[in-house]
């Protein structure tokens, strides 16, 4: 009986694929997505979840409304990530230029920074900043701690991406710019960086999507971001899985938005390749 079921499922799968490949490519992709999504939903359906519970608490996960006069849920997650992304990009650019500089101090500072922040776990960095800074008399609340930790950590990774991008621009470009009399700062700003961007954007976009999810680590500080809301509301009436699945879907949708944004930026910087 079991074998019959397996054979039947296999046959359906084969026929399904055989049918799908007859369609044009775009339609094939769409059908594959829809079918996998349906299987995914059936999988969760089998858990026998309480959908009323998800529905009743969804607005807190999404962060519609304020908590103590500030954002919460997915809105807070987005806020933390966007500020951290801007800060980390700035830090990364400085660190990459330091790494490429002839100045020994700049090189030393930059390599020390990237080495430490790439060499320790993000969770630990978050704890160090939240618990460590007050020992120096600087008391900061969870949300700034989270932003500082994420910006420093991702700045270190992105510094390497920036460096690789800058080195990826052929040296002939710099030489040609110098030949027409541009100064070093202008060469970097007008000639090298714009060309480096098309190498930098895809891996950088990847970083930001990773950051979106790593921001869940700051829930341990009690910042009311998406993961915290999911955990806490899941605990309230022993509906943990419900809240986790809802949070997973929200993270996923936010990542898709990030992916789309990345594709647009990528296209912008690749204008030079179009003929």
């Amino acid at each position: 009986m079991q074998w019959v079921t397996i054979a039947l499922v296999a046959a359906v799968a084969v026929v399904n694929i055989w049918l799908i490949v007859k369609f044009p490519f775009q339609l094939q992709v769409l059908i594959a997505w829809l079918e996998l999504l349906a299987l995914f939903l059936v999988f969760f359906w089998s858990f026998d979840l309480s959908y009323e519970y998800i529905w009743s608490r969804l607005r807190f996960l999404l962060g519609l409304g304020l908590q103590n006069g500030f954002l919460m849920g997915a809105a807070l997650t987005l806020f933390i990530c966007i500020v951290a992304i801007l800060a980390s990009t700035f830090i990364a650019l400085i660190a990459a230029l330091g790494r490429l500089s002839d100045n020994g101090v700049a090189f030393g500072v930059s390599t020390f920074y990237t080495s430490f922040f790439r060499g320790t776990p993000l969770l630990l960095q978050i704890m160090l900043i939240y618990l460590g800074l007050p020992q120096l008399g600087i008391v900061i609340t969870p949300i700034p701690s989270a932003i500082i930790a994420l910006a420093l950590c991702y700045g270190a990774y992105s510094a390497e991406i920036f460096r690789a991008g800058i080195l990826g621009v052929p040296v002939g470009q710099t030489e040609a710019a110098r030949a027409i009399g541009l100064r070093d700062a202008k060469i970097m700003r007008l000639v090298v960086l714009p060309q480096a961007m098309k190498l930098i954007v895809p891996p950088l976009g990847n970083q930001f999507i990773a950051m979106l999810k790593d921001s869940s680590l700051v829930s341990i500080l009690g910042a009311w971001e998406l993961m915290y809301m999911a955990r806490t509301h899941g605990r309230a009436e022993f509906k943990y899985i419900e809240m986790l699945i809802a949070a997973a879907l929200i993270y996923w949708i936010m990542s898709m938005v990030f992916e789309t944004a990345q594709a647009r930026v990528e296209n912008y910087y690749r204008k030079g390749d179009q003929r």
Partner: protein, 274 residues
Amino acid sequence: MRFLTKLISVLGLSLAVCAQVLGGEVLDRVMGNKVLVMSTDAEYPPQSSLNENNEFIGFDIDVGKEIAKRLGVGIEFVTPSWDVITAGKWAGRWDVSVGSMTPTAKRREVLDFPAIYYYTPASLVVHKDNASIGSPADASGKNIGVAVATTYESYLKKDLVIDAEGAPGFEYQINDAQIRTYDVDNLALDDLRLGDGVRVDAVVTALPTIMDSIKNGYPLKVVGDPLFLEPLSVAIDKGDAEWGAKLTEIVQAMHDDGTLSKFSEKWYDADLTK
């Protein structure tokens, strides 16, 4: 060079100032700001959790609100994780923890415990299909889940020292437990509900938490009598005696006039305050 020396001395000075907690400082801050900032871990129903309006509810929350009311100030809640609260050195981020904390000797090194407000029984719980663990002693050598940095973990490790006056004595009934630690107690219960021995054989946690999970449909049963009774106290950062004395006075009054018993009946269906 001179700049560097200056910088170091300034840093050193500010460190010294910070390390010194002045008497009455917290009390002055609370009365000055007209608000009591209380830390709570909202993952522990029925002590503290969020309701369908995203508001805090629970026994600890009611006690905290009552303390604020008697101080004549408002209340605000912050939600750091449990190990951040128990680590001490709060740096003035919050004034008090009304978090059902057991005063242990180790915690007393970093925190002060001015007022015990109720007693909770700690119990051993197994899956309802379990037939081999009939008494706590039967759980010796088994896989037992507990939350990290709790008294339940200390009990299994046999290094639990409850440091409070009038705490009832207890003996270690479980030997050589294979301890599995979790971030919070409910995660251990989630693993236990998967089935007898699937991930853990038993869990040690607070009896009210167990009863609440059973009420919510978890297939679990309590084994024998409670392992120990833990006194649970209000906790404050070390070094402010005036603040501690004020809390002792308020909580004592809440014991005396029956307010605490009333809250206990409301959340636990029993008076656990005696």
